[in-house]
Each structure stands twice: as C-alpha cells, then as structure tokens.
Amino acid sequence: MEPQRAKSVTRSVQWREKAFPYALLAPALLLLAALTVYPFFYILHTSVHRLTPAGETFVGAQNFLRLLGDPFFYRAAVQTLVFTASALTLEFALGLALALLLDSQIRGRALWRALLLLPMILPPVVAGVTWRLIYNPGFGPLNGALRLLGLDTRRLTWLADPIVALASVVLVDVWEWTPFVFLILLAGLQAIPEEPYEAARIDGSSPWQTFRHVTLPLLLPALLVALLLRTMDLVRLFDSVFILTQGGPGFATETLSLYIYKTAFRFYDFGYAAAASLALLVVTGALSRLYIRFLTREERA
C-alpha cells in the first residue's frame, strides 16, 4: 500500500472510531429532543398566548398574572402540599416499621415481601377502583366492619365529606406506596454490615441507642433516595385522585395536576394551563436537581 493511501485509511478509521459513540447516542437524543425539548419550548410559547379555534393571540404575561390572583390555583397548591406532607409522614413511618420488622428474625420473609409488592405494582387506576369499593358507604366493607363493631355509620361517607375525603385520598396513597418505601429501606437495612452492630453490642448500647447511632446514619442514603422519589411523585399526584373523587367534593381534594388537567381538557384554556404547568415544573425541577446531585455524589464516592 502506498504511504499516502495508508494515511487516509488510518484517518478514516480514526474518524469512524470517534463518531461511533455519537452514532450510538443519536437515536435516543433525537427521540428525547422531539418529545421533551420541543414540547418544552412549545409550552413556553403557549403560556404567553390565548388559544382559540380561530388561532392564537399573543397575551404577554397575562396568563401568569392571572395565576398569581387565582384562589383555585392556590387552593390546589396548598392541598398538594398537605397531601405530600401527610402521605410522606405516614409512608415513612409505616415503611420503616415494616422494613425493621422484616429485617428482624421472622419466618416467611420472602413470601411477605412478595405479597407486599402487590399494591404498588397494580395499575393505579385499579387501586382507585378497589378503594371505591372499600369506601362505598352503603355496601362497602369498611362501613360494614364498623357496623359490626356497633357503630352508627349512616352519616359516615368517606369520599363525600370535604375533610374526610382528603384523608381518604391520602390513605389510598399510603396503601399504594408504603410498599415502595418499605422495599427500598429493607434493601438499605440488609446492606448494613454486621460489624457496627457488634461494636455497639460490646459497648453495651441499648436497642434504641443502636438504632439511633448505628442503623439510622447508615440507612440515610436509602432514606433520602426514597424520600426524593416519593416527593417527586406526590407533587404530581393525579391517577388515584381522578378515580376516587375527581378533585371533589367541590374542590376539596383538587391537586395541581388535576387543576391543570381540568383547565386544559375541560375548559380548553391551554394558554392558562401552560402557565400553571410551568409553575409546577419549577417545583419538580428543583427536586430533580437535588436528586441528581445526590446520585452524582454516589458516583464520585
């Protein structure tokens, strides 16, 4: 082979070598760009317009100003916060208790663990339907059981009273997602080595001291992962509320996601819905940054 040609062959081989990883990345990046980057700019565009069948008109910051003075938006935001805080508290208390229970010496651990997966693996719509059956004031088993205990349940409606309905929706989320918290925490507990426990035993620490000074600090990474993922899911809660109450009675259980859904697809006010979604995006964006930073710290360690 002439030296000249050999050189150009090497160069083309080098070029192909360099381009190879980008060719591998291209399909994924194109798909993501088409269905997340483009929609993101589209939503920015929509948020400063009013969409009517005739076309769209530029309205400037009007949608955002309206958002600032909209009591229903605030109400949905506050309720989303209440849902998130109360569901997180219960899910972590119960999930940690379950994880500690199944991490201790107990028979049939694998079976219980498998059965406890069920609520989180079934379609959220089916979870909603199941609890509509449970909560039914007439023939539901919840009121049925209370009547067996001698209580008068005639005025006890789980989804029709504003305050009770809020608690009922939280309970369904706790039912669905405590198993998630439990699984992550159980994995975290089982990853803790035996040595620190032995050291604590030699030091003569009480069970509570051992939990407080050994278990909890070593469980912290798993706790944080579960916390961030659950928070992210809760601030966008939609499916189960849609099935259980559709945000009612009145607006008692309306979440931000439901509010945006109704604005866009019941009232066809797309510009205003876009503005409200951007507000939600700011919150979840901050959370996802936290989560990713946390993941990176793991990577570096």
Partner: protein, 276 residues
C-alpha cells in the same frame, strides 16, 4: 417469657400490616366473582355462598378484550423502541470518554427528562399530536411511552454495562472485531438478564400508565385498559362486577412480571441508586 411476648407482638404487627395491604385486593377479587345480590348486601358478604364467572365471561363480549389488546400492543411497541435506543445510548455513556464532560452532562440531562411531571408534558404533547393528526392512535401512545421509558432504560443499562470489565471488548478488538461487532457479539449476550429485567419494568410502566392514555385516546381503536376501567367508574351507574373483573385482568400479568424481576426490583425502582 418476655422474649415470647416480643415474638408474639412481632407476628401480630405483621398480621395487621398484611391485613391492611392485602384485604382491599381480596375484596376486589371477591367482588369480581360475587353474584349481584351479594355485592350489594348489607352487611357485606365476607365469603360468598356461590361464585359466578359471569363477569369474566362478559369481558369477552364487551370491548375490554380490545382494550387489553391495545394496552399490550402499546406496551410492547414502546418497550422495544425504548430498549433499542436506550441500550445503545447507555453503552456509549458507559464505555466512551466523551469531551466536555459530556458523559456526565448527557447522563444527567437524560435523567432529568424523566422527572418532568407528566401533566406538564401532556399539554404540549396533545397540541402537537393534534397538529399531526395523531390523537386517538396507538402510535401516539407508543411514541409517548418510549420517550417516557427511555431515561430509565439508559440508567439501568448503563449500570449493567459498568459492571462488565473493559478487557472483554479489548480482547474482541484484538481478534479483529469491529467496535459494533464487539458490542453485539460479546457484550450484549452478557447483559441479557439485565435487558430482560429492564424490558419488564418498561412493560409494567406502559401497561399501568393512565394520564397520557386518558388524553391521547378516545375510541376503542386506541383506548387502553386503565382508561376503559376509569370510564366505567365515572359513569352514572357503575357496574361493579364487570369493573372488578377488568381490574383483576389488568393487575394479574403485572404481578407475574414483578415476581419475575424481584431480584432487580429495588434497583429498578430507585433508578439504580440503591442496589438491592
């Protein structure tokens, strides 16, 4: 004595937990095989006198079969697309050192798209699909779910690739394989279990998804099972038996799938952050 009391307390607590988490599902299954009279009985019938399979038989005569078929098609199609594109990207991020810290930056950006709230993406997605005349098609859902699952595939598969030693490909390259040949012949077969687990996770997510399907589909040519079930709840008169039967049909395959990936479950649920 005190020890025995503690053991007893432990099992009692476990029983309470199991009752809370499993009784609702028992009730769903029970409602799907109860006769109508016993469904509406007060006090509730905790264990029926007679069972009926009418509601399951009825599913075959209704549109539910079609909806399940749509769900299956959409879940399988989107899983294939996400798996193909995501695995290639994961391999690139795992094995090649790109300039400008692109490995990290792209990895984080891809993950951050998954954190996008669905309700935020659905408004523009609906307008775009309407513009393309794709509303109420299965193709629209396949596209939406592929992208939804893509970041998950990238992160899961990157984890599996990272666990394989680099010497494997180097040996193949020395033997005269091309880069892609080394990937296809040596690496891909080794990550097959991870690939299967990731695929099953994608199937579960796509099969269970509700919001996108609610907005992007309208008729039985594209409606999925969750939307079909939801439509029954929001009707004036709810047919509890048929709805429960459909619910059982929708959840059973997912449980089988979840058992199949139990070993990878924690890793999948936490996007690879916690290794189970």
């Amino acid at each position: 004595m005190r020890r025995r009391a503690a053991t007893f307390g432990k099992y009692a607590l476990l029983a309470v937990f199991l009752l809370f988490f499993l009784f609702p599902l028992y009730w769903l299954v029970l409602t799907s095989v109860k006769t109508q009279a016993e469904q509406f009985a007060s006090p509730p019938v905790w264990w029926p006198r007679s069972f009926t399979t009418d509601y399951y038989a009825g599913l075959f005569q209704s549109t539910t079969g079609w909806l399940a078929f749509n769900s299956l098609l959409v879940a399988a199609g989107s899983t294939l697309v996400a798996l193909a594109a995501g695995t290639l990207a994961a391999y690139a991020l795992s094995r090649f050192r790109l300039p400008w810290r692109l490995n990290q930056r792209l990895g984080h950006w891809i993950l951050s798209t998954r954190m996008f709230p669905p309700i935020v993406s659905i408004v523009p997605l609906f307008l775009i699909m309407r513009g393309l005349d794709l509303v109420d098609t299965r193709a629209a859902l396949v596209a939406a779910y592929s992208v939804f699952n893509l970041p998950f595939v990238v992160w899961m598969m990157k984890g599996f690739f990272d666990e394989l030693p680099r010497e494997l490909e180097e040996a193949a390259l020395v033997d005269g394989d091309s880069r892609f040949g080394a990937f296809r012949r040596i690496i891909l077969p080794l990550v097959r279990p991870g690939l299967a687990a990731t695929a099953i996770f994608c199937m579960i997510v796509a099969w269970n998804e509700f919001l996108f399907a609610l907005i992007l589909t309208q008729t039985e040519g594209a409606l999925t099972l969750p939307v079909g079930i939801a439509n029954q709840v929001t009707q004036y008169e709810i047919r509890w038996g048929a709805m429960s039967a459909a619910g059982v049909v929708a959840m059973t395959p997912m449980f089988v799938f979840a058992l199949a990936v139990q070993r990878h479950l924690v890793r999948g649920l936490s996007f690879g952050a916690v290794k189970g």
